[in-house]
Symmetry: C2
Amino acid sequence: PEVVRLAVIPGDGIGPEVVAATVPALRSALEAEGHRLDVTSYDWGGERYLRQGAAMPADAADLVKQADAVLFGAVGRPDVPEHELVWGLIIGLRQQLDLAVNLRPVRAFPGVPTKVRDTDGVDLVIVRENTEGEYVGAGGMAHAGSGHDLGIEVAVHSRRAIERAAHQAFALAGRRSGHLCLVTKSNAMRYGYPLWDRVVREVGEHYPAVRLETVLVDAMAARMIQDPRSLDVLLASNLFGDILSDLAAVLAGGMGMAPSANVLPGADVPGVYEPVHGSAPDIAGKGVANPVACMLSGAMLLDDLGHAGAARRVRDAVAATLRDTRHHTADLGGDASTAEVASAVLHTM
Amino acid sequence: PEVVRLAVIPGDGIGPEVVAATVPALRSALEAEGHRLDVTSYDWGGERYLRQGAAMPADAADLVKQADAVLFGAVGRPDVPEHELVWGLIIGLRQQLDLAVNLRPVRAFPGVPTKVRDTDGVDLVIVRENTEGEYVGAGGMAHAGSGHDLGIEVAVHSRRAIERAAHQAFALAGRRSGHLCLVTKSNAMRYGYPLWDRVVREVGEHYPAVRLETVLVDAMAARMIQDPRSLDVLLASNLFGDILSDLAAVLAGGMGMAPSANVLPGADVPGVYEPVHGSAPDIAGKGVANPVACMLSGAMLLDDLGHAGAARRVRDAVAATLRDTRHHTADLGGDASTAEVASAVLHTM
Ligand SMILES: CC(C)[C@H](C(=O)O)[C@@H](O)C(=O)O
Ligand SMILES: CC(C)[C@H](C(=O)O)[C@@H](O)C(=O)O
């Protein structure tokens, strides 16, 4: 029997609620396969920021490196400046652990209503570069306060980061449909996105079985809704991956359905698994949040640790649960509580 | 009787086809109101680039300034590098004429099928900053060709440009629902978008009757599809406006339905009116392009020149035509030709 050492960061808002719904499902799935789950929980997030002036400790990256993987809920609360939690925690962890890619799969589950017609069979993955691009925090202000202020944002796209993400995307596309869509905006931006086009084409030479298509981000936004079944694996920069993954979640019923994995493949660094949704302060504390995105993030975590059997148990139980509309939370048009969904998943497993 | 002096740039691909379908409708609408249309056509675009090495002449901006307004089809052809036509024509004209905002209305027409459920009554406008942001063309390469290449994109957001766009957006929201959504990404980008948040809030103090809501671009992408009727006027940067307007077009049936106006309100500079779609080389020359986006761009043009009656004639005729699915082009699931739609609109007018 193996022991999975899990670091858990419940965070703020609905974060703790969806994490509390997920951990028992992961434990039960692992135990059914003869393994064990060992959980260390960290109180990082907005409350810690208010108490101690920092959302996480300076040695946070070292602490989570003792675990096999990290399950992250959500951070953000109205009384804390958002950038303190984003840079002090989410983006901070991604960049400090150098988690090269953010994998954001979107799959339509039978029985779940969507605002988009004909989503049956939608099953795509966004491979998002996760360490740089528009998220490097570079830039500055000129003429600040003069009435002629300029805000300057500098995005940095490196061959190294593009290559890392591209190899993941091509390998994944090779294991799936053999079709990869690169999303850039090289007709308007002249340096970073043309470099993406060039480097990804070069990496593609190592994957002759994968067909590479390059699509402008504006056209992709429309196509994501108009023709999602024409898509399988998407490769995108940090910013475009962010926008497209929220959009893609709509195909599965919304943000409550979208899991993600921040990973550095091939390295001995724990991945950070998190629902794509945020802390949703408006519904926090009411016990009505949809825990599915977090549960599916947990399934990705199990998969990546080599526990495919346990991962399948979680995913199958989620799918079976969602088939019954009585187990749909408010975001899906139902009235089930978070706890009801959690218990339905556990009992189906 | 007034004479409207129209400069026409049909451009490439389906551009000439949709422009040819539109000009007679504008003429007929103006004549019905006792006015006249005077057209000067410019052969700018990809063919000119191949012939003369430039998509438009150096004095293009001066030439079109002799007109009251410009109707632009589309540019882009597979055998010309896209940036030559984009920077040499579309972005070139927008920036040389200093056309501060790009207005992109999206309205669901009864009878037009959409991939999104419940789009009845969708009626929103994206006010896109049109001169700077991610579209300034600034940046460069470092370590080019070394294997450690860096592509650096610099986006510039100025108080002046934000203020101009914000005044338009607030004034428009004041004439409509009194609700304005500003779209930024200030949790990840630290300079340009926080400046947007600040300046737009300040401008808002002059419009106490308008409620300002600030939404992150990723959340807005999802909301655009999940809950479009919660939106009326959106204010966005050049890049976010680009992405969101293609997406919003889906609510109206796709890119064939989305008009736009590049304008500098309050100045004696001709606006450039163009369908949001591109040159669509795949269907060019077949006579099957949807001319509605171009026709509705023409209606915006008439409106802005003070010909509200003629504009209404065009719009009403388009709406009446679209009610009959026999007049739907292929993009709307029909088999009508461009010419059939054009003639139906003319006969309805
Ligand atoms: C909180 C925010 C900075 C983050 C992002 O933009 O990456 C979030 O939207 C996400 O998608 O994980
Ligand atoms: C052609 C391209 C540069 C342009 C843009 O990005 O502005 C187009 O997509 C548009 O929306 O008008």
